[in-house]
Symmetry: C2
Subunit: 159 residues, 2 copies
DNA sequence: CTACCCCCTGACACCGGCGTCAAGGTCAAG
DNA sequence: CTTGACCTTGACGCCGGTGTCAGGGGGTAG
């Protein structure tokens, strides 16, 4: 198939596909007229790239996953290089979450003085009604909301 | 004082100060030779900007805070525009945290298959020993780590 | 032959907060 | 007078993943 079809089937732009090729993530044989020609397996490769980008990986991070798939493995994440990248990304994500939690704490602390009663539960009362069907969770007493295995706060931001 | 001194006292570069001025956040009167001249209050303004940048605000976000200070208020966050921005940023931070938690969940789910036993507790075993004095929290059974008023997961990321 | 759709390469634009270099003026100390 | 630290404006670079435009070729349907 040509680039337009692959783009449509993978849900990306042709521009993105050319960029991935330029970055060495995918490759294409060329027809006599210079057009790129792809096969079914490329759909899978692009899907892998997109799903990784969706969770915050860069194209560079995605490289070992793609290589893994091209090496014949059924899952891009099954190679040791992929695992190493995943672990690194996990640490990065955790660090980011911790930083954001610190930021949040600083903002809420500020708001405690300037707008008492504003930050009882997250994101509310400042931009109209909820989008749609957001059931407004319990919020309980306003503290200790358990998460789905979130990283530990470990906050130490002294201001 | 001139730009070099303000830069040193505020802990920023002269380039940054010129940029803030270009963005209309701070202003300086000019000496006869064209040099920028600042006074003590500017140290405070720049400090406010820096502390806001440090929690993820953009310069645009910082504008009402600076205006508030320049209007004579003792705290940059005490004006209604500042409060509005803080609430918006809080919502943005919450959204980012939720997104990151979803990303984290996807990565750990992946690792569950490709590296069983790797993600029992966050950020460990992939880059040497802990930095220093990080006591490695309990981790308990591996779930439900309470946070310091973190936003609700509300995750709905179906893959 | 003309339309028209698809493809090609190359390259600038974007976003934010600066770093950094260029080319030159100012002023006090030696 | 010279040196050298400090200042000025202007402008490009960076990072990542594209969007988009420019300018031109390929192939098929009418």
């Amino acid at each position: 198939m040509r680039i337009g079809e692959l783009a449509e089937r993978a849900g990306v732009s042709a521009r993105a596909l050319r960029y991935y090729e330029q970055q060495g993530l995918i490759s294409a044989r060329r027809a006599a007229n210079g057009y790129r020609e792809y096969d079914e397996s490329d759909v899978r490769l692009v899907a892998e790239i997109r799903s990784l980008l969706a969770v915050g990986f860069t194209l560079e991070d995605a490289r070992p996953f793609v290589d893994c798939l091209r090496a014949g493995h059924e899952a891009g994440a099954s190679c040791p290089e992929s695992v190493a990248v995943s672990l690194r990304k996990l640490a990065e994500i955790d660090a980011e979450i911790r930083a954001l939690i610190r930021h949040r704490a600083e903002v809420t602390a500020q708001l405690t003085y300037t707008c008492p009663g504003c930050d009882l539960f997250p994101a509310e009362g400042n931009d109209g009604p909820r989008p749609a069907g957001t059931p407004r969770r319990q919020a309980a007493t306003g503290r200790l909301a358990g998460g789905v295995t979130p990283p530990p706060p470990d906050d130490q931001a002294g201001s």
